[in-house]
Assembly symmetry: D2
Homo-oligomer: 359 residues x 4
């Protein structure tokens, strides 16, 4: 019944509820000798936190991370790395009205049904606030990947049907949507504000790219790299779909179109002329960029009046107060990057000995 | 570096290569007292095997399963259940031409790159033949689900852009495509034969439905039921995308449209008026049907001439002989059912004690 | 390379070094609905802490535990339970002299050899202080066992050859040695003080009894209950041996002596006339008390002058300052109880579904 | 509820009952490129098999192993290695008399209590015959260790109080007891034959030595090398105790005696003047020989009349026919070697990346 541990050799155990004392995590399995400090982590936490713009929730989360263990003189020691972020500004009172209510589109009912008890304050453990710990862990994974010259970039690809048509990496952090297409970003933002005024929210698609990933990651047949990525990303609350490379578009393709053809570059290294497969074939990374897209549902918490259910099973009209994200895509960006980073690092550690001569 | 074990409490370890002596598996964790015999398994193996129609590969696989352990007087004993299927008709010779060739769209290169050695006969471990063991294990999982009145049904939803518009469960096994829409099935079959004549293949979409699934399955935050399903299905060689409920369509929806509204049925049981979420919310099954779709790529092995790479890195035109599946969807159907069944049974076992009073 | 997670379904992840900021743990998998508060934990931490008497180390550890998550209105919710104990009184300076020294009998060299970096302050992660997190986790496990009327009792059975001959449970917490034989306790204490005056330490044997354990715990063939207990107890730093029931004395017995004979009690329940096997047979608990003994080595940190090695490989005479435990047995008692409690709870959760009708 | 999988990165899944169709195993995680053939395995199976001398059971087991997968042209490929041994000579009929009987000292009752069904033929899964699969897997692990110049040697150290006083490795396979002291071997054999004539059995102690083990194996704090060894060895049916280095003798030692002192050898390599610790300190191998002893109980199946229990709970005098091992120590020798080999190989794989620069 444990489900709060991620990874096999780079294991991340997270804890914490939306309105509890603190959230945090332990990383077990980080190699020693990695330079690490709190600002490495804080940087990404700040990208995740709410209140960054008018299109994200205004709640002040602060989210100052503290490293508790696993470091000595600025370097990891191979022992568990624990981090904690204390919750501030926990206005639990404001949630009393939801005490006996199962909100539609949320995990209120399923958590209660399963556990018979529910921390109803802000969604408890089912709150999106849980992803804070993922981002903190992911920041460590990213440092390891940087050591191997691998970089993870996520961006908002689509919002309510508006799709980015161009990709300029430098644009991503310049707009509130984290879209790599300046023009699409403007349209998306306009649409989100419009929906927000209606007290509604919208869904979208986020794309994640692992640039220059290590070769040979992934362990067939069940722990294929794409399988592990799918699980990692689908475990994010708002995600309803994952696709790699051509993804669902393969349904429109012939084999002769979809197969990627090899070539050798000037350094005699093997490459592919196309990347329909998205950098993974037979469950193993082939050295090309890994390209993944995820479907992000519209935030279920909306201002618009909705029909909920109370614990006695009666329908009840409710309006959820507070400011919620009208489109969660820009805040999913750092979370998705983190999950991909965690999968790649775990796969790297697992792949370190594949052949007897590597022992 | 182990990747051939699936599940946490209902663990399936598989082995075997396309042209080795045998394929098989061990199930560790099956509860005792389940009635089981070889015909329970054989039934599904026969649905997976090639040569069932003109649109599937004509190779004669036979695939007679033998139960080796874990049973006594027709019932499981709680000890490991081993099964074996001996390979017959292993014409390894016919693969000699591929000895030094990496075929495009296959795992030939990535396996060689990772392990430095490659069983090139028919794809070795990377062959689709590996799914035989998944189906055999899945048949046991299905028997357990049947004991709880849960049924898994998969069907071909789309082929090369042709989409099923109606759903009649009784149609599925009546056509070679395993499509639940008779008319669409006819169009699909026509298109596949056309492509086959061109020496090409096509992709599609398979949908899997778990009818009457147990409530409360899934373990947040990382081992959510949808996350486990995504991994299980993405681990099938041909699958490039997984979506649950509305899936990628959430990008076109507002929160007010996507949230499912509760109601109580006549027996006072909680239900939802819609099922946008696909039976899983907050990572836990809510009792509604679980609905998943997977993107199935066009078979990479095609008769058409293609550009491959030899081990020295030179391009080489090749034509892959033998009869391959021009569309693998109908044979993915039993495999996908099996993976979903394995995930649900594993989740059931993990969910058995969520509350102290269940101990 | 992860080694800081204990258990399969009741998973405990611990962190922290002797002189870092804090120690703590996360329990993932605790059933919901268990009443729990900080004093449940503190009680056992106080039994473990140093400075309880003249025969234990005088370091003031304070060790106030704080519960951070997983609870709502005094009960567990099924989400991860995190606990933290901040380190106070971290006089790291006093360890500067040991910076370049590998002390004999400690993990100084092996940690450095493996990780290439070493937190030398007080042993870092290899310090006995790490057991604090085990005891905190064990306190939760004990509450679950209490719910099932199972109790774990440990006591010092032998010290430097002096063996307890009688067993009176009420005596255990009355003497500084935690020995259940009042007379032996007096002799042991005298011997320990004598050794302490010589700047030396002594080893001993601790016995752990699980009274009224649940039937059917343990999962053959590799995860037998005795195998899991052996691992759990051998993972305590000072432990060099584990035996169950007759243990090493089986070498002196005939089969006809060692086999336990069944009988039915007045309530028609199966029992054994003897308990040579120590409550576990074929790796499964048979309902009788589980009886285990562990060999506890003499504390390696002694005041007496010793020959150490410096990082350059030169021998160096050292005297380790500070007050260390001349016999660690009484402080191992709560640690050993905790490890046994953790194993039993984990086995209970794993054993909840053995038969199909329990699903 | 799965308990038939051993290891974390070198995973061994075993199956089979004493009188089922076959026994076997799958190794998942063996590096590619290892030369391996059936005679590597058969050699050790022959050392384990019954009927080798007048002091071992006379049952003809044959035990011809067949490699089914994971090899190509005589080398491992990194895919699962499956092996099978078909059972011959399964005279199940002879066990009908035991159908409703729980024999004392065996797992008959606990298996029935847990699973509600029991394969009573020769102990079913609880039979010592299960260790065949351990030995087959261990043979592969030994080949990997040989590649690193590590060798595992086990020998019978004590039988019914008679202790080997000298150690001559070349003697071990020369006597039926596998004792390294020729004179003690003669006394042991005489005693065993005497007991056998009385229809009784005796216990003993087996010692296992890992010569020239790799440095740095083991992962504190829970997966210490000694903890993993203890679990592995205690999981052997007949074992009731495990000790490392001085083991239970630490209770008689002072710290100043038990601490091992370092020295540098001529090649400037660190060593220890003594090996009280048995090659493992702080849970990590220090490069010295690893020395372990296990307590082996007297075989419970004896010819002498005993009091059993029938399923209705009535006492019943029984005499167990057939020839059983009057002392199982010599046949435990290859099993214990195998378990140690499996632990070391698994630890090697886990230890391959401890530092960032090893990535």
């Amino acid at each position: 019944m444990t489900g709060n541990i991620f990874g096999k050799l780079f294991k991340v155990t997270t804890f914490g509820e939306s309105h509890g004392k603190a959230l945090g995590l332990i990383i077990d399995g980080c190699p020693s000798g990695l330079e690490l400090n709190e600002s490495d982590i804080q940087k990404d936490l700040d990208r995740r936190k709410p209140g960054q713009s008018k299109i994200t929730s205004a709640r002040k989360e602060g989210d100052k991370v503290e490293l508790l263990s696993g470091l000595f003189e600025g370097k990891t020691t191979g022992t568990p790395i624990a981090m904690i972020v204390y919750n501030k500004d926990q206005k639990s009172k404001s949630y009393d009205a939801l005490k006996n209510i199962f909100r539609p589109g949320t995990a209120d009912f399923t958590f209660f049904s399963k556990y018979g008890i529910r921390d109803y304050r802000g969604g408890g453990r089912a709150s999106g606030r849980e992803t804070l710990a993922r981002v903190a862990a992911g920041a460590v994974a990213k440092k390891i990947l940087a050591y191997k010259n691998t970089k993870i970039i996520a961006h908002t690809k689509e919002v309510y049907g508006i799709r980015a048509e161009t990709f300029d990496e430098t644009e991503i952090e310049k707009n509130t949507i984290r879209c790599a297409d300046k023009n699409a970003a403007a349209l998306m933002e306009k649409k989100i504000i419009e929906m927000s005024k209606q007290g509604d929210s919208v869904g979208g698609i986020v794309e994640i790219i692992a640039k220059n990933p290590p070769l040979n990651l992934g362990t067939p047949v069940f722990d294929k790299l794409d399988a592990d990525l799918a699980k990692a990303l689908m475990s994010i609350g708002a995600v309803k779909g994952v696709e790699i490379g051509e993804g669902f578009n393969v349904s429109n393709l012939k084999g002769s179109q979809n197969n990627d053809v090899f070539y050798k570059d000037k350094k005699n290294k093997l490459h592919y002329e196309t990347n329909h497969t998205g950098g993974i074939i037979g469950g193993i990374s082939n050295g090309e960029d890994i390209i993944i897209r995820i479907a992000v549902k519209p935030t279920p918490s909306i201002l618009k009046e909705q029909i909920a259910m109370d614990v006695s099973g009666n329908k009840k009209n409710i309006q959820i107060k507070g400011r919620h994200d009208p489109c969660i895509c820009p805040r999913i960006v750092p979370v998705a990057e983190s999950m991909v980073a965690l999968v790649l690092v775990d796969a790297m550690l697992r792949t370190s000995v594949a052949r007897i001569e590597q022992l």
